[in-house]
C-alpha cells in the first residue's frame, strides 16, 4: 500500500467516525427525549412514537438510507449524502436508545425520587439531579452496545455513495488489485474505534458499583 492508499483509508476512517459520532450524539439525546415524552402518555403522540420505534427497529439500515436519499427530492428536500446518511443512522439508533432510556426510567427506584420530592425538589429538578445521573450510569452499557452496533452497521450508508472506511477499501483495491491489506487495516481501525467505546463502558462500570446498594 502506498501513501495515497493510506491517505484514502484515513479519510474513510474519518468519514465513518464523524458521521457516526454526530448520529450517536443526536441519537442518544433524541432517544432520551422520546422516552421522556412517552412517560407523559399523551394520546396519539404516544401511538405515533410507538409506531416510529417499531418501524425504525425493523427496517434494515440500507433500506432506510436508500429510502431517505431517494425520497428527499420528492419531498422538496435537498439533502446531501452526508446529511441523508446521518439521518438514516440517527433514525435507526434513536429508536433503540429510546427503549434503553425507557427501561432505565421504569427501573428507577421510586423511593429515591420520593425522597427527592420530599426535600422540596420539583419533578424536573428530581429528574436532572437525582434520576438522570444514575440513569446515565446504568444505561451506559446498553447505550455503548448500541453505539458499536451503529459503527459496525455504518457501512450501509455506502449505498447512497458515501465513501466510508469500508467502501474506501474497495476503491483502493480497485487500483492496487490487492484487496487484503486495506481490509486488514480497516478492520484494525474499526477495532480501535470500538476499543475507545469499551473503555468508556469500563469507566461507567466502575461507577455503577456504587449504585448497587
Amino acid at each position: 500500500m502506498n501513501a495515497s492508499a493510506w491517505n484514502m483509508l484515513l479519510e474513510g476512517a474519518w468519514t465513518t467516525v464523524w458521521i457516526s459520532a454526530v448520529s450517536i450524539a443526536i441519537g442518544v439525546v433524541a432517544g432520551l427525549v422520546i422516552a421522556l415524552i412517552r412517560l407523559a402518555r399523551i394520546p396519539i403522540i404516544d401511538q405515533l412514537l410507538v409506531l416510529y420505534v417499531s418501524v425504525a427497529r425493523a427496517t434494515p439500515l440500507v433500506t432506510l438510507a436508500l429510502f431517505i436519499f431517494l425520497s428527499a427530492p420528492d419531498l422538496g428536500l435537498d439533502l446531501n449524502r452526508s446529511v441523508a446518511g446521518i439521518l438514516a443512522l440517527t433514525l435507526n439508533t434513536t429508536a433503540f436508545n429510546a427503549e434503553i432510556w425507557r427501561s432505565a426510567f421504569r427501573n428507577f427506584s421510586r423511593e429515591q425520587s420520593e425522597a427527592a420530592m420530599a426535600t422540596g425538589m420539583t419533578p424536573w429538578v428530581t429528574f436532572r439531579r437525582i434520576m438522570l445521573p444514575q440513569m446515565v450510569i446504568t444505561s451506559l452499557p446498553g447505550l455503548v452496545n448500541e453505539m458499536s452496533f451503529l459503527i459496525k452497521g455504518s457501512p450501509a450508508i455506502a449505498v447512497i455513495g458515501i465513501v466510508d472506511l469500508t467502501r474506501v477499501t474497495n476503491r483502493i483495491s480497485a487500483v492496487t488489485y490487492e484487496p487484503l491489506p486495506p481490509i486488514l487495516v480497516a478492520g484494525a481501525l474499526y477495532m480501535a474505534i470500538i476499543g475507545c467505546l469499551v473503555w468508556l463502558q469500563r469507566l461507567a462500570e466502575r461507577r455503577a458499583n456504587r449504585l448497587a446498594m
Partner: protein, 262 residues
C-alpha cells in the same frame, strides 16, 4: 375563624382527612394537630394506615378529602379546590422533612452531597453555605468522619443518620419519621433513636411512626393510636401507656413489650 387561627399556629393541622386505595378506606376522617415543638407518635398495627397518614402530610400520597396545613400553608390543593402547581407544591413540601424506613439515600452522591443537594438546588443556597450547614448537621448526627463516603459503604444506622441530616438541612417546620429503625439490625437501633431523642430535646417538631414503645413513651407529647384508618385513642404518653381507654389498645400494648415506666 378559630379554625383558621389554629392552622396558622400549628406546625401541622389535619382536618377531615380521608383516603382510599381502590375500594378500601385506609384513612377515615382523621383529625390531627401538631403544635410547634411537639412530638407526636403514631402507633397502630400493620396496615392500619400509619404510613399513608404520614405520606399524606407531605402529599406523597394524595388524600381524597380533607385539608392539611403545614405551618399555616395549605398543601396540595388551594381552598377553592384548584390543584397546586408543582412548583408551589414543592415549596410547601420543603417545609416538611421526611425520614424513611429504607433510608432512601441517593447512591450517586457522597454523604456530604446527599445533605447539600436540596439546599443548593431547591433553596438556591451557595455551595459554601450549604456545606457549612451540612457539616454542622453531620456533626449533630455523629457522621463528621464520613463526608466523602458513599452510601453503599455505610451501615444501616449510619445511612439513617445521614438521612436525618439530609431532611434537617431544609430546616423544615416538621420532621416526619416513618419507622426509622424498623429496617435496622437490633444493635444499630440505639444510635438512631439517640439522634432523634436529641432532636426532641432541642425542640424540633416531629411526627413519628414507630414500634419502639419505650422510646415513644419517653419522647412523645402526644400518642395517637390508629386502627383501620381511624384514630381510636389519643393521649399523653403516661395516660396512653398506663391507662388505655379501649380494649384494642390494651391488647396491642400487651403484645408489644410495654415499658412499665419511662
Amino acid at each position: 375563624m378559630s379554625e383558621a387561627n389554629t392552622s396558622e399556629t400549628a406546625a401541622v393541622s389535619i382536618r377531615h382527612l380521608s383516603k382510599s386505595f381502590d375500594d378500601v378506606e385506609v384513612l377515615r376522617d382523621v383529625e390531627l394537630e401538631v403544635k410547634t415543638g411537639e412530638v407526636v407518635t403514631i402507633i397502630g398495627s400493620s396496615g392500619s394506615g400509619k404510613s399513608t397518614l404520614l405520606r399524606c402530610i407531605n402529599w406523597l400520597e394524595k388524600p381524597d378529602r380533607g385539608s392539611i396545613h403545614i405551618a399555616g400553608q395549605r398543601i396540595g390543593v388551594h381552598d377553592d379546590g384548584r390543584p397546586m402547581p408543582v412548583r408551589e407544591l414543592a415549596k410547601v413540601r420543603a417545609q416538611t422533612g421526611m425520614v424513611f424506613q429504607g433510608f432512601n439515600l441517593w447512591p450517586h452522591l457522597n454523604v456530604l452531597h446527599n445533605v447539600t443537594e436540596a439546599p443548593i438546588h431547591v433553596q438556591g443556597k451557595s455551595k459554601r453555605e450549604a456545606e457549612e450547614l451540612a457539616t454542622a448537621l453531620l456533626e449533630k448526627v455523629g457522621m463528621s468522619q464520613k463526608h466523602d463516603s458513599y452510601p453503599n459503604t455505610l451501615s444501616g444506622g449510619q445511612k439513617q443518620r445521614v438521612a436525618i441530616a439530609r431532611a434537617l438541612a431544609m430546616q423544615p417546620a416538621v420532621m416526619l419519621f416513618d419507622e426509622p429503625t424498623s429496617a435496622l439490625d437490633p444493635e444499630l437501633v440505639g444510635e438512631v433513636l439517640a439522634v432523634i431523642k436529641d432532636l426532641s430535646a432541642e425542640g424540633y417538631t416531629m411526627v413519628m411512626v414507630t414500634h419502639e414503645m419505650a422510646f415513644a413513651r419517653a419522647v412523645s407529647d402526644q400518642v395517637v393510636f390508629l386502627e383501620k384508618g381511624l384514630i381510636i385513642e389519643r393521649a399523653d404518653p403516661e395516660t396512653f401507656f398506663t391507662t388505655p381507654k379501649t380494649d384494642r389498645v390494651r391488647k396491642f400494648l400487651e403484645n408489644h413489650d410495654t415499658p412499665s415506666s419511662a
